[in-house]
């Protein structure tokens, strides 16, 4: 064990979010140090995807603080409720938090390579040739080097999701948010995506992963968070948590997800 933990990559405090009269998140806090892999578990409707979407402000939380690499996202009360104070800051922080979506969300009118260099060239304003070189390396890493000129529609689901992960990596993010990255895949394609994610965890990437893959949560992540009805019901290192479920509900959840 280290005496000094690595710096905090992401700090989320007391997030609340309601849709109409339904309170989806009821005060969730989460701290991820650099290199942490946090699996977020929970039944559908427990608020885990909303939490992830609140972190990069695809949803605006009603209350709570978000700090990315030491920078707090400033919010103010606007005419239509709470809003970010500075849109530019939101854009910059989003570019530091790459998200991987359940249904890939690749840009269908661009090839895989174009998908990868879009952010680096147009958001980060990096040199195009440099970006291409880096994108090709990333595609090599996720096993898609020979598919760089394919359009997303010409790839399998697993290949699309690996391309989407490479697109996220191309932004060189401080933390990566995975929103059920394997839920839309055929069972036989889940493995290839999980292998890529495991490799990322091993190279020390900071990852927040909303998932139903218990194997990944148990074997890859160093922390597990179990949400129930918008609250953190259980949290801790996976070994302890899976061996001795602290609550009855978590025990039942695990029993329902035996693999």
């Amino acid at each position: 064990m280290n005496d000094t933990p690595p710096p905090v990559a992401l700090d989320v405090a007391d997030i609340h979010k309601s849709f109409g009269n339904t309170e989806v998140l009821k005060g969730i806090s989460l701290t991820a140090h650099e290199g942490d892999v946090v699996s977020i578990l929970g039944a559908s409707g427990s608020g885990k995807s909303t939490l992830l979407r609140c972190i990069n402000l695809l949803e605006i939380p009603d209350k709570g603080e978000i700090v990315v690499a030491g920078e707090r996202i400033r919010m103010r009360e606007g005419r239509h409720g709470r809003q970010p104070e500075d849109r530019k800051q939101v854009d910059r922080i989003r570019s530091e938090l790459a998200m991987v979506f359940q249904s890939f969300n690749l840009w269908s009118h661009m090839t895989v390579l174009q998908n990868l260099i879009e952010g680096p060239v147009h958001v980060l304003k990096r040199d195009r040739r440099e970006a291409i070189g880096e994108a090709e390396m990333l595609l090599e890493k996720v096993g898609l080097a020979d598919r760089k000129d394919y359009y997303p529609a010409h790839l399998s689901g697993g290949q699309q999701q690996r391309a989407a992960i490479a697109r996220a990596l191309a932004m060189n993010p401080k933390a990566m948010l995975f929103d059920e990255p394997t839920s839309a895949l055929d069972p036989e394609l889940v493995g290839e995506v999980l292998r890529v994610m495991r490799a990322l965890a091993e190279e020390g990437r900071t990852m927040l992963v909303v998932t139903h893959e218990m194997g990944f949560a148990r074997g890859v992540s160093n922390r597990v968070m179990f949400l129930h009805r918008g609250m953190v019901e259980a949290e801790g290192p996976p070994k302890e948590l899976f061996a001795n479920p602290p609550t009855e509900r978590f025990r039942q959840f695990l029993a329902g997800h035996e693999d």
Partner: protein
Amino acid sequence: MDFPFLFNTTGQLLAAVPTTLLLFVESIAIGGVIALFVTWMRVSGVFVLDRIARAYILVFRGSPLLIQMFMIYYGLGQFQAIRNSIFWVALKHPFECAVLSLALCTGAYTAEIFRSGLIAVPEREVEAARSIGMSGFLLFRRIIAPVALRYALPAYSTELVLMVKSTSLASLVTVWEITGVAQRIMTQTYRTTEVFLCAAVIYLVINFILVRLLALLEWRLSGHQRRRRDSLPTDAALEGTPT
């Protein structure tokens, strides 16, 4: 068949082609800019702008183009204020009046075509762009516009073809484009069939070229919707490829 007459007629009509093309190009360009504005007003989420845009579309899409053209050419000149304004420099010419009314009309149709393209842009792809820090004009230029344009193109192609034909209405406000010239030859010779047949063929050729160009553009913009030459026939087969 009186070939010398057909030859002579065709020659005179071809001389009017530049006028027709100029009517078309100018009205499409101005109408396109109007359409962009009106589309933006329609989707702005600002109630007043949205209502103004809807009213504009209702009026110019809902009433006959010929009447709009008459009102602009014969109607506006009745007002002393307009005759005294700087707009009179343009509005006293039939050509500019025809361009204006064609542009206003196609602007209304095109705004709705653009809006249908915008609606078709998958929200997921927009969200992906936002999630890496794109917003505002960059997001529109790089992600929304190319996809929306692609979706709008088939309907927009039809609008362009219709516009080529609509320029013939300008003959009724004394613009000497193809139809106007055809009518003049007809009144001089009374050979209706030959003259208008020649005119129709010229429109047909213009539209044929236009349609081919648009098809080429559509083909270039839809690589992602074609099957790759080297790709396997089914999804299942693709998913089986070792990686």
